[in-house]
Symmetry: C2
Subunit: 454 residues, 2 copies
C-alpha cells in the first residue's frame, strides 16, 4: 500500500466519519423539532392573539411582547429590544370602489396599497384607462390625464418558481402610481400579483416619486379585475368611483426583537437568523412572515433543547419593519457597524412556511462550493437546491455593510402568492409539518456553518 494511497484512505475515512456524525446530529435536531416542535403553536399564538401587525400599529407592540416572551421561553441566553423608528401608515375606513352601468351598481373588492394616501373625503370619480404594461402607458400617455389608470398586467403562469412571476409583476404596484401620476392620472387600480382562483385583493408596499402627485392606489382581485376589463371592453366611457382613507402619520418608535445563544468559542462572530415581525393588516401575516419568525426562534429552541452549544453567537432577530420601509434591517446593520460587530453569516426565512426545497446564497463562489459539499446532508429533509442568489430583504443591509454571506430559505412556492398580502394569509393556511421542516433545514445549515465555517 503506497503512502499516497494510505493518506487518501485516511482522508476519505475522516471525511466519511465527519459526514456520518453530522448526519446523526442533524437527525437529532430533526427529531427534536418533529417530536417536540413549538413553531406551530408559537405561530398560532402570534396569529390569533396579535393578528395583522403593520409597523406603528398597536398590534406591533403586542407582537414585540410576544417575541420577547417566546424567545425567553425558547431558552435564549439574552433577549433585548433594539429601538428603531418605523413608518406609521394606517389604512383607515374600508375602501369603496364601484361602477354603475344602466343603473346596476357593481362593487369592486379593493385594498389600498401600503404607503398610499387616501382620496379626498368625497372620493374620486373618473373614467378608466386599462393599461397592460408600462410600454403601453408610455404610448398612451396623452390619454391619461384626469383618468384612473387600471394596470391589468397578468401574473405569468409559466414561471415554475412563482417568485419570478412576482419579480416580473410587482413593479406595477411599486412604481405604477407615480408613473401614472406623471401623466396626470387621478388614481390607480392594480391587478393583484397572484395566481389565486379567488377574488381577494393583494395589497403590498408602493413608493411615491416626490416629483408627482400622490394619488390614491388600490389593488383589485382577479375576478373583479376581469370584470372591470370586460365592462371597459363594452363601454370605453365607464366611470369608476374610488374612495380610500389611508394616511401616513409621523414615524413612531418600534423595535427589532433580538435573542441570543452566546458562542462558546468565537462569541464575537455573529450568525444572524431571522424573519420580519411586521405584516400587512388584512390578515394574520401567517406565512408572511410569522413563519420566518417562528422558524428562527425554533432553531434556537431546538439547539438549546438538545444541548448543542454553538461555537459562534447565534442571534435570532425578529425585524421590526420590512413591508413598508425596511427600517428594521437597516437599523440592525447600522448599529452593528457603530458597535464594530463581526457578522459572520446571516440567514432569513421570508418566503413562507411551506415545505422547504432549497436555499439561495449570496456569497463568494468558493463559499458556495463549500456549502454545496454539504448537499447530501439536506436531502433526507427535502432540500435539494443549494443555488447562487438569495438571502432576504432584512439581512440585505448586513451584506451591504460587512459583505456578510447570506442565505434565504426557499420553500415550495406554488401556494405562496395565493395568500401573499391577502386576507387568506392566516394560520389555517400553514401546515404544521411543512413549517417544522423549514426549521429543521435552517437549523441544519446553521449547525454546519457554525461547525465548519465558510
Amino acid at each position: 500500500m503506497g503512502k499516497l494511497f494510505v493518506s487518501l484512505f485516511f482522508l476519505f475515512a475522516a471525511n466519511a466519519t465527519a459526514q456520518q456524525n453530522d448526519s446523526l446530529m442533524i437527525r437529532r435536531i430533526a427529531d427534536e423539532i418533529l417530536d417536540n416542535g413549538k413553531a406551530y403553536e408559537n405561530l398560532r399564538v402570534l396569529c390569533k392573539t396579535v393578528g395583522g401587525r403593520v409597523a406603528g400599529s398597536p398590534q406591533m407592540l403586542k407582537a414585540e411582547a410576544w417575541g420577547v416572551k417566546t424567545l425567553k421561553e425558547a431558552g435564549a441566553d439574552k433577549v433585548w429590544l433594539q429601538e428603531c423608528m418605523v413608518p406609521h401608515w394606517v389604512r383607515g375606513a374600508k375602501e369603496e370602489c364601484y361602477f354603475t352601468v344602466a343603473g346596476v351598481k357593481t362593487n369592486l373588492d379593493v385594498l389600498a396599497l401600503g404607503n398610499s394616501l387616501g382620496s379626498s373625503a368625497k372620493g374620486v370619480t373618473a373614467q378608466v384607462v386599462l393599461i397592460n404594461d408600462f410600454d403601453e402607458l408610455e404610448k398612451r400617455k396623452d390619454e391619461i390625464k384626469g383618468k384612473i389608470v387600471f394596470y391589468n398586467y397578468k401574473f405569468n403562469k409559466r414561471f415554475v418558481k412563482t417568485f419570478q412571476a412576482y419579480g416580473d409583476a410587482s413593479k406595477y404596484r411599486g412604481q405604477g402610481p407615480s408613473r401614472a401620476a406623471k401623466y396626470g392620472a387621478v388614481a390607480v387600480i392594480v391587478r393583484s400579483m397572484t395566481h389565486a382562483a379567488d377574488n381577494n385583493p393583494h395589497t403590498g408596499g408602493m413608493n411615491y416619486d416626490s416629483n408627482y402627485a400622490k394619488i390614491p392606489a388600490v389593488a383589485v382581485g382577479l375576478k373583479d379585475a376581469d370584470k372591470l376589463a370586460e365592462s371597459l371592453g363594452r363601454n370605453k366611457a365607464l366611470t369608476v368611483f374610488l374612495k380610500t382613507n389611508s394616511q401616513m402619520l409621523p414615524d413612531v418608535k418600534g423595535h427589532n426583537v433580538i435573542g441570543e445563544l452566546i458562542g462558546s468559542e468565537f462569541p464575537e462572530q455573529i450568525i444572524t437568523v431571522g424573519g420580519h415581525l411586521d405584516s400587512w393588516d388584512p390578515a394574520e401575516g401567517a406565512h408572511d412572515d410569522g413563519a420566518g419568525c417562528v422558524h428562527s426562534i425554533e432553531i434556537l429552541r431546538a439547539l438549546k433543547a438538545i444541548g448543542y452549544k454553538p461555537k459562534r453567537t447565534l442571534r435570532v432577530v425578529l425585524f421590526a419593519n420590512e413591508e413598508n420601509g425596511l427600517r428594521g434591517g437597516n437599523k440592525y446593520a447600522e448599529e452593528a457597524k457603530a458597535k464594530g460587530e463581526t457578522h459572520y453569516f446571516a440567514l432569513e426565512s421570508d418566503a413562507g412556511g411551506f415545505t422547504p426545497r432549497g436555499f439561495g446564497f449570496t456569497m463568494k463562489p468558493e463559499q458556495l462550493v463549500k456549502v454545496q459539499q454539504w448537499s447530501d446532508l439536506f436531502k433526507p429533509y427535502g432540500v435539494f437546491e443549494l443555488t447562487a442568489g438569495g438571502g432576504g430583504a432584512d439581512i440585505g443591509p448586513l451584506a451591504r455593510t460587512f459583505n456578510t454571506p447570506l442565505a434565504g430559505l426557499q420553500p415550495d412556492s406554488q401556494r405562496y402568492f395565493d395568500i401573499h398580502h391577502a386576507r387568506t394569509d392566516i394560520f389555517e393556511a400553514v401546515n404544521k409539518r411543512e413549517l417544522e421542516l423549514g426549521a429543521v433545514n435552517m437549523a441544519a445549515l446553521i449547525y454546519l456553518v457554525d461547525k465548519y465555517g465558510l
Copy 2:
C-alpha cells in the same frame, strides 16, 4: 484533431442537441398545461357534481360517465368502458360511538372501516382494552375476550416522507380487526393514520380473516383517541357503546374507463397512465384519487393540444376499484393477458395532487440508469428524485403479469395524510398549480419513455 476526439465531439454534440430539443418539447408541454390546463376544472366537476364514489355506489356510475365525457373532450382517439365486477360495500346510517362517565356522555367521532360489517341493531357495549401495538396484543391476549380493542398506535412523526409512517401504521387498520377477533374481541376502534391537528376520523380498507368473527371496526380521530386513552387511564372499567351500520352486498358491475391516443409507429406497444376513479365516501376523493385521474387525462389532452403524436399507444385508464378490492387493476391486467397485449410501461398517480418532487420506479436496474440520465430535464419543473421503488396499486398487476416497468408520481407528502380518507379530502384542499405541475412532470416522463424507450 484525432479521430477519437472528433467522434466523441460529435457524440457529445448530438447528445447536447437531443437534450436541448427535449428541453424545448417539455417546455411546450409545460406551457400548454400551465396556460390552458383543464385538470383543475375537471377535478372541480368530478368533486362537486359526483363527490365521494365508493365502488358499487350510484356515484360510481356518474363518475364513469364523467370519465368518458372528459376523455372525449381531451381528444382521445378512442374511449371505452371495460366491464369489471366490483365489491359493493355500503356504510349505511351514521355510526354512533360514546362513553358515559358520571352521567356525562362523551361522543367519539368515528367512521366504519371500509369492508367492515355493522354491529347488530342494538350496537355493542363493552369494556375497552387499549393496545399500543401487536406485540402488546399478543402479550395481553387473555384480556381481550368480550372487549372492544382500541389500537392506539401513533403515526410516527419522524418519517420525513409520510408514506413511510403510513406503511408503518396501516396494518392496525387492515389486520387489526381480525387479529383482535382471534382473541374474542367484540369490536375494534383504530386510531386514525394521520398527523392532522384536527379530529376527523380517517377510514380506509380492512380485510377480515375468514377464520375469525367479523367484528365491527371503526377509525377514530386523534383528539377523540387521546380523550378515550385519557379516560381509560382514569377508569380502566370504562365501557363504550358502538353502533355501525355497514353491509357488504353482492358484487355489482362497474367499469375501468379507458381512453387512447393510438401510437404512430408502434401502436401495439401500450403505455398506460392512470389513477383510480373510486374513492371513500366521507368526502370528494379530491387528492385520493381524483387528482390521479385528472393528471392522466391532462397528459393526453396536452400532448394532443400541442400536436405531439406518440410513437407508442398512450392509454389513460381510470381504474374502477382500488380502495377496497383492486378489482380495476386486476381486471385490466387479466384482459390484457387474454388479448395478448404488449404493456411497455405504466405510470400511476395515486399519492395526491401536491407539488411533485419525484418518481419512484420498479424496473430493471439498467432501465433505471437510463431514466436517471434524464434527470436534468425534470429539475426545472421541481422533480429532483428519480429513485428505485414505486409504481401504484392499480398498475401492480401489469408488472406481475408482464414484468411491465412501473413508475409512480411522488408529490410532496406533508399534507397528504392530513386529508387522506377523511372528510377533508375535498376540492378546496387542491392547489391548481401544484396539480398542474404533477401533470407536467408525468407528461415529460411519458414523452421521454415514448421517444427513447426503456
